[in-house]
Amino acid sequence: MNPNKATKTESPSSLEPPTGFWLFLYRANKGVRTSTPYLMFFGIALWLVTYYLFNEGWKLPLFNKIPGPVEVITEWISRDPIFGMSLFTEAYHTNIYVSCQRILIAFSIATSVGVPLGLFMGWSKTFRDYTFPILETLRPIPILAWVPLAIIMFSGFETPIIFLATLASLFVTTLNTLLGVDSIDESYFRAAGCLGSKPRHVFWHVVLPGAMPFIFTGLQISVGVAWFSLVAAEMISGDFGLGYMIMDSYMQNKYVTMVMAMITLGFVGWLTSAMVRFAGDRMMQWRVRALALEGR
């Protein structure tokens, strides 16, 4: 038998860069050996301890009416929650599900309208001259100022809420995409021209990929503002959702549930923006790899 055979099936030769599963293991291993995960846990622990000390520990007057971490976590993991909502109740799941679904719809509409709109505005000077003033007048109107209008225009709970989240997200995405096109170095357009590109080639091979880094920065901000306006809208007029859960439990003095909803929002928000970041990295390997070589 070939003595080398056993080692060969176990791991690829140490001289070759790892691929697939081995690459994953290598990265995981490398990640654990840096300080990042430990600092993260330490940071969270520090935050929890401070919260505990201010609240349940030293009983500071400011935190009198606010439930402490022990109380919140106990309720959260209880199979029989005092205020009716925990990890094991359907109502909690429904609220998360409803909010996430609304974000998904709003974010999808905003992205599929905002990105093309921004690209065209950046690409065609004429189109930009028409549309930019409109964008710039609508954009500064705070999203809360749109609430009454949304309620008047649309019936029910669902549409106005999604409308508001979409609107907020749309402005951010469009503007960032536009800035992304502006950021593209003139020499790429010239190179494309030399190489015999027709306008549609320039659009697909220069404008779109060149704006991509800005687009994804914009999408991360946009998913954030979508959550912001969604929760605001749900608090004002809603039937379900995390924003409604906060407002409703506040009205009914269920402060434990309220804090639970807030932390859930933080977690879900972080998750969505991580997903956007992940998608961005997948679509911009050229950038990820170049940055990796710079040690970032």
Binding site: R190, C194, G196
Partner: protein, 279 residues
Amino acid sequence: MQAATATKGAISIRNVTKIYDPEGVNVMAVDDCSLEIAPGEVCMIVGPSGCGKTTLLNAIAGFHSITSGEIYLDGEMLCGPDKPIADQGADRMVVFQNGALFPWKTLLENVAYGPIVQGIMGKKEARDKAQDILAEAGLADFSMKFPGEVSSGMSRRAEIVRALINDPKVLLLDEPYRAMDALTKSIMHESLLEVYDRTKVTIFFITHDLEEAIFLGDRVVVMTTRPAKTKKIVNVAIKRPRDYTVLSSEEFRLLVAEAKGAVHEEAIKAFEAGERELA
């Protein structure tokens, strides 16, 4: 591949003047400049920063207009009185001052791009051809890398390959090796000479490195400080193919000495006028 003899790529620049923003800041960058470049010639343009070299190149490439005069390529007018700005096209390929490989495409995709968008080759054919000529330039193992992953020397070489796959009449290079260290530069020089000996493409090469100009060129055109015109033309009769041993030859040193006086004089004028370059 056998050495080609050049039959195409004659550039004729006749009394070209370029004034930026005539009604406003009114910067005269090129003043009544005339120059005849023969097919297959390596014409080196040397001049102080901000004298109008890039301006001239941009006019040939069709990136901006000229104010008066005419430019011809193989007897056809590119731009002139009735047509201030030349059409951009794959017959004149530009290699840019700061490099313009698309960072979002691999070297292979970059090279295959031209023939695909011009509809000359199918995707598969273009990629095969691109792989072949990248391999000829010693980049076979890097064809799947992105420009951001390879050295500046390699990406510059790939950029020249991307230009050459289109079989251009003229290669326009704007200080392509400006930011490189001397050692990388000498490798780049040899590879450009090798490409030239193989293709005999007309080369319009801007530099402010006089030694580079004499090592590579058939003629060195020394430009005046802004507004640019031709001040002195030095014929370089060193036989081809050339290699780095040329650099230590007596002939080479005499040529450098001949051109240096003219360049130095203009450099002083440019410095005293406080010229600065935009690009």
